[in-house]
């Protein structure tokens, strides 16, 4: 805005200056023109004096003599001719005498002519009539000599004497100039300059006005018009069209000539000269402005006036006009500029305003969202903690019901009611657990608890758990060993509990929705790869890379990082689980929604209870373990659903390969296989069969006859999986689908055997278990070389790498018959087998009976002696997992000791089945040891309680709100490798706990800020026989411990602890329990002791426990302190 306002005056002044300059220039030009005109006139001035001069010359030559014509001819004519020839612009020259004598030269018809009149009249005497006779002649003149020649032509006389100019010239001494018409025919205007000679005659010189005015008109006037007139009104030049100038005194009036002859006065131009220059006046003639300059001029002695008229349309008017137009344009431009700037500013402001508004709205929305999220989070948290407490009370309820149940009279109505209550409470607990899990997942509190565990064991446990339920419904639950990879990488690190939860959930669903057929669980391992592991958040690859590139520190990226880290871990393997059932199946369109919370597929869920939370939790858990779950498509015609999920688990060191590459190497070149200790699925503690130490390598020589297994299993799936498993182990397998087919199958085998093995020794090397052990040990050292180079990489590699073959020292073939005892009438089956054995010559035979758990339908007592071989093995169903492996190990190739039917060796085979739970909903476990004794022909069953399980059970009940203790406590107590049965220890401890003062002689330090709790703790400890010291905060506790330690050192018993245990409250003023513990741990290091510290918190969540353990505390207990918990904790510490 400022710029244009500053520019306009600037521009205006510039334009004004230009205009002034232009004005000045034009003025200069005009005055120059005037000057030129006047100059021209001045230039012509000398002509004026030539007549006078000539007259002077003639006067002298005539010397006052009276002139006659002849004298004129001789005396006057020659000078006249000379003058005629020399004076420029001269058009006529004459001598006129008073008497009428006249001689003149003039130009006519491009020739020089002379006019003369030779007769004089007596001016004084002659009458006017005389004059009539006066003659005049025209004759040609030779223009070189002035001689007259040719005929003289008579012409009318010229009466010059009476003319005014003649009189004037005669009377004036200096001559006289006037404008006259010439005497040639054309009557041209001439300027006549005349002078007298001796008072008798006049010399006149005539200049052509045309020639003279041409001098003026030839001046370049640049469009200006010139008007020239003598003072007496004779117009010489009039260039302006349609105008007429009338001279009146000093004024020139300009008149417009109209076509009809009228004249209109337009204005007057003053010719008074002021300040040396003529004044300019402006007149409008026919729409055109003219500048008029008027000035007088001496024109060859004739006084005249000239007027110069310039049209105004020249430069000045152009500039003037342009100035206005330019100004207007400029104003328009500036205005439009201003308008546009204003509108732009307006738009900008409006846009900014709107943006601000949007921004504010966005912020508001974001705040609202955050608030909502926070609220939801808080709700979830509150929900999680609340339901946690609900669960605690519910657990108490179930415990109470159980106690009442035991006391109630069997068969009474009360008992029935209590049982129903128990069921209800357990259902409620299950429901609550699932809700709790969901809320926990929602609150993001779900964390993986890594621990080492045996995957195969876990799988078998889970499957066995659901087997009885399945059997009740007529559904077989089968654990498919698949390619055996899961057995090989059995020792894994991961969250055991959650994996079990996932499997349980899927299995219970499968069993629930399956009415007939089977449920199969299979597992295999593969190398974790980016393609295989389905990323929980379905992000495509490009986005992932972009995120990596941009390094955005959002959570998703962190997740990704974590996942990548998991995958880069060389020990991490991807485990794929499949739960396959033959139930109703899930319709395709419902498959996606199945994993959403609170969704149940209606068509299939009819009559089935449940919240619909199960699969949602399962999915969340699987994703937590870096995997994904999906429903696999089944072949057309196949019934049921197949859930497949994968999780990433870390494999443990005892698996030979550390990473995938090494594994490949090992697979191809088996000679580098390090010793593979098979970690049996059941803890070594209970396994007393020597085969558990199986580490023997062998080469299957083609010459040695291999064993043969006959399977009679009713269930198709189980038969198929067992058969495949054994075939993968390169065992010959024959199957019989029904018991009726058994004889024919056996017949075929017998036939073959009796033909092929003629030269076999038939005697078996009966080695005792100890002998076997030594052998296996020796084989172990040397047998490495004999390893089979496994060229092919099929699924059996895994199994083969688990079950090392051994070279049997006998040549006779071995036949193993596995019979499902419920497949047919038992007696009939026995008979068939006995029949078969009788006919066998050089092959050993062993029979494995499969029977239902808890249903001792094989009553050996009622069977004749010769029918049942004492070496027969009876194992309980289900026939998979460890039981399957045990059976395989019966084969001589896999280390089985051989008992031929001819042998009478009284050896006990202890066969131990795994823990078979009675009821999947309770984790109470039992162990069966089957004892097939030789001479009694009966199979005894010894039932052993799991180590103090009933005591354990009650204990668990009372501590159910504090899971952490049982969790922490149970971890290191799993298989004690020293082989000491923990039974005695356990019993002793139980005995201790029953004692009134189990802690007598112990000294404890209690650190708690709350008087009440302190008092309580001290009282409890005193009751238990211990002595207690108290302090009120962490600092005091630290000081006391410090003092105690230094005192001990002084006494020289530095290894003695100042306090046997420290009970530490976690939240105290001055110094909290965690900090105090850290300090104590730091300090005691220099003494080389470890003071057990038991944390006490009122928090019941696992998070606090973890913090406590991290701080260096040994055990974490919930408040209020209970005797049992304390004792349990102390036992745990002592066991460490």
């Amino acid at each position: 805005m400022l710029l244009p306002t500053a520019l306009i005056p600037c521009w205006y002044s510039m334009i004004s200056r230009v205009e002034r300059q232009v004005n000045l220039n034009s003025h200069d030009f005009h005055s120059k023109l005037q000057y030129e005109i006047e100059n021209t006139a001045k230039f012509l001035h000398p002509i004026n004096s030539s007549a006078t001069n000539l007259a002077g010359v003639l006067e002298l030559s005539l010397n006052g003599t009276k002139l006659s014509f002849s004298m004129i001819e001789t005396k006057v004519a020659p000078p006249l001719f000379q003058a005629w020839s020399t004076i420029p612009y001269l058009s006529q020259i004459s001598y006129t005498g008073l008497e009428g004598l006249f001689f003149s030269y003039y130009t006519g018809q491009n020739q020089t002519l002379a006019v003369y009149s030779n007769s004089s009249y007596n001016s004084r005497s002659s009458a006017p009539n005389v004059k009539k006779n006066f003659n005049c002649y025209i004759q040609h003149v030779n223009h070189e000599t002035g001689e007259l020649y040719g005929n003289s032509i008579e012409c009318p006389p010229l009466n010059l004497v009476n003319k005014r100019w003649f009189q004037e010239a005669l009377n004036s001494t200096n001559g006289y100039a006037s404008l006259e018409t010439g005497w040639n025919n054309s009557q041209d205007l001439i300027l006549l300059s005349s002078a007298r000679i001796n008072g008798e005659g006049v010399i006149s010189l005539g200049f052509s006005a045309k020639v003279l005015t041409a001098r003026f008109t030839s001046i370049d006037r640049q469009g200006g018009s010139l008007y020239l007139a003598t003072k007496d009104g004779k117009v010489l030049i009039e260039e302006l069209k349609n105008t007429h100038m009338v001279l009146a005194g000093n004024m020139v009036s300009v008149q417009l000539k109209k076509p009809n002859g009228e004249q209109k006065v337009l204005g007057n131009v003053s010719c008074i000269i002021k300040d040396g220059s003529p004044r300019a006046s402006t007149l409008n003639i026919q729409g055109t402005e003219y500048m008029f300059y008027c000035s007088s001029l001496d024109m060859v002695g004739v006084q005249s006036v000239y007027v110069l008229a310039f049209p105004q349309k020249g430069l000045v008017s152009l500039v003037r006009k342009n100035r206005i137009v330019a100004l207007a344009l400029l104003i328009v431009i500036i205005t439009s500029m201003v308008v546009s700037i204003l509108s732009f500013a307006f738009i900008f402001v409006r846009a900014a305003k709107r943006e601000m508004h949007l921004c504010a709205a966005l912020i508001k929305q974001m705040e609202a969202t955050q608030q909502a999220e926070r609220k939801s989070m808080n709700k979830s948290l509150a929900f999680a903690s609340a339901s946690h407490d609900v669960r605690a009370s519910l657990a108490g309820l179930t415990g109470l019901i159980e106690m009442c149940y035991e006391e109630a009279n069997p068969g009474s109505e009360l008992e029935t009611n209590l049982r129903q209550m128990d069921t209800c409470a357990k259902d409620l607990l299950g429901l609550l657990n699932s809700i709790l899990d969901t809320s926990k997942i929602e609150a993001g509190k779900m964390q993986l608890e890594e621990e080492e565990f045996d995957l195969a064991q876990l799988l078998e446990d889970v499957v066995d758990l659901y087997h009885p339920i399945g059997i009740k419904k007529g559904v077989d639950v089968v654990l498919d060993p698949y390619d055996g990879s899961a057995i090989k990488f059995s020792q894994v690190k991961g969250d055991r509990g959650k994996l079990k939860q996932i499997l349980c959930n899927l299995l219970s669903n499968a069993v629930k929705f399956t009415c007939e057929g089977h449920v199969t669980v299979r597992t295999w391992v593969r190398k974790p790869s980016l393609q295989n592991s389905i990323i929980a958040s379905n992000r495509n690859g490009l986005m992932k890379y972009l995120q990596c590139l941009f390094r955005k520190s959002n959570e998703a990226y962190n997740d990704l990082e974590a996942m990548n880290a998991t995958q880069q871990d060389p020990n991490a393997m991807e485990f794929v689980f499949e739960v396959d059932d033959t139930g109703k199946g899930i319709p395709k369109e419902k498959q996606i929604s199945v994993f959403e919370n609170y969704v149940q597929v209606k068509e299939t869920a009819l009559g089935q209870e449940g919240t619909g939370l199960g699969l949602g939790i399962v999915q969340s858990l699987v994703r937590l373990m870096h995997g994904d779950i999906s429903i696999m498509d089944k072949e057309m015609g196949e019934k049921g659903t197949c859930f497949r999920f994968n999780v990433i688990l870390g494999t443990c060191e005892n698996v030979s390969c550390n990473n995938a590459k090494a594994e490949d190497l090992e697979m191809v070149d088996g000679s580098h296989t390090p010793e593979l200790t098979l970690s049996t699925p059941s803890p070594g503690l209970w396994l007393r069969t020597p085969s558990s130490k199986l580490t023997v390598h062998t080469t299957p020589s083609p010459k040695v006859t291999t064993s043969h297994v006959v399977l009679l299993i009713q269930n198709n799936e189980r038969r198929r999986t067992s058969q495949r498993f054994m075939e993968n182990l390169r065992i010959k397998v024959s199957v019989a689908k029904q018991w009726e087919h058994l004889p024919s199958t056996l017949q075929k085998i017998k036939h073959k055997e009796n033909h092929s093995c003629h030269n076999s020794s038939g005697k078996s090397d009966l080695s005792s278990p100890s002998g076997y052990l030594s052998r296996s040990a020796s084989n172990n050292s040397s047998g490495v070389d004999k390893d089979v180079p496994l060229s092919s990489m099929d699924g059996s590699d895994y199994i083969l790498s688990v079950f090392k073959r051994t070279t049997p020292k006998f040549a006779s073939s071995f036949i193993l018959i596995v019979i499902d005892a419920s497949a047919g009438p038992f007696l009939e089956l026995c008979r068939i087998v006995a029949e078969f054995k009788k006919g066998l010559h050089n092959a050993t035979c062993k029979v494995v009976w499969l029977e239902k758990p808890m249903m001792r339908n094989i009553n050996f007592k009622h069977i004749e002696e010769d029918l049942v071989d004492p070496n027969d093995v009876v194992i309980s169903k289900p026939f998979h997992g460890s039981r399957l492996y045990q059976v395989v190990r019966l084969l001589p190739e896999f280390g089985g000791t051989l008992q031929g039917n001819s042998s009478k060796l009284k050896e006990e085979i202890k066969f131990q089945a795994e823990k078979v739970p009675k009821d999947p909903s309770s984790s109470r476990s039992q162990t069966y040891i089957e004892n097939s004794s030789t001479n009694k022909h009966s199979t005894q069953q010894v039932e052993l309680q799991d180590h103090g399980s009933s005591i354990e059970e009650t204990k668990r009940k009372s501590m159910s709100p504090i899971q952490t203790l049982s969790h922490v406590g149970s971890k290191p107590r799993s298989p004690p490798s020293n082989g000491i049965p923990p039974k005695e220890q356990e019993i002793q401890e139980i005995g201790n706990s029953n004692d009134e003062k189990p802690l007598s002689g112990k000294k404890l330090l209690v650190a708690d800020d709350n008087v009440l709790l302190r008092k309580l703790a001290v009282a409890s400890l005193l009751k238990l026989g211990a002595t207690a010291e108290t302090c009120v905060n962490g600092q005091e506790a630290l000081d006391l411990v410090c003092k105690g330690l230094s005192d001990q050192r002084k006494l020289g018993a530095s290894k003695m602890l100042p306090y046997d245990y420290v009970l530490m409250d976690c939240e105290m003023p001055m110094m909290n329990g965690y900090e105090a513990t850290k300090q104590i741990r730091k300090m005691e290091k220099s003494y080389g002791v470890h003071i057990p510290i038991i944390a006490l918190t009122a928090h019941t969540s696992g998070g606090e426990a973890n913090v406590a353990i991290e701080a260096g505390m040994d055990v974490h207990l919930g408040k209020p302190l209970k005797k049992e918990h304390l004792l349990e904790a102390i036992r745990y510490i002592d066991a460490k």
Binding site: L1012, L1013, K1015, L1016, K1023, E1067, A1098, K1119, P1120
Partner: protein, 154 residues
């Protein structure tokens, strides 16, 4: 009143306390800790609880009256109260504390005030009951009888 009758009444009364859920088995534990060496253990502990709880309740009330409530502080107080009440087995007070802590986490002033009111009510309730119980016990002792031990039938 006859001693035997009083003893029966005491047992009935104690039982009713358990039935109503005012006390839980922690109180029994307390009773078990009491023996000849410190015959007034339960009374001592419970009166300690009363002192503690009254102080804490005052603190909480004061903290909640403030313009800007310092929830972590309130939460700490409630936590202590919860510990104390759990120690003597004042179950209802303890449950109230659990609910209170949820409100603290949510920073919900209204809920907290409501909860506080409830806890106070429960506290006075349990206080009255326990005082009555102790009076009864004292009467029995004064009458020359012995305080019968509750069975662990709970």
């Amino acid at each position: 009143m006859e001693v035997g009758q009083m003893q029966r009444r005491l047992i009935e009364y104690t039982k009713s306390l358990f039935m109503e859920g005012i006390l839980d088995d922690q109180f029994l534990q307390l009773q078990q800790l009491q023996d000849e060496s410190n015959p007034d253990f339960v009374v001592e502990v419970v009166s300690l609880f009363f002192q503690d709880a009254e102080k804490l309740l005052n603190d909480i009330t004061r903290a909640l009256d403030l313009q800007s409530v310092d929830f972590p502080k309130v939460d700490a107080h409630v936590h202590q109260l919860k510990g104390s009440s759990a120690s003597v087995g004042a179950q209802r007070v303890k449950n109230g504390c659990i609910a209170f802590r949820n409100f603290c986490e949510e920073q919900n002033v209204d809920g907290s005030l409501r909860c506080l009111q409830q806890i106070k009510q429960e506290y006075y309730h349990v206080k009255n009951k326990l005082e009555a119980l102790f009076r009864l016990e004292q009467q029995i002792v004064a009458a020359g009888g012995s305080v019968p031990m509750m069975e662990l039938s709970f």
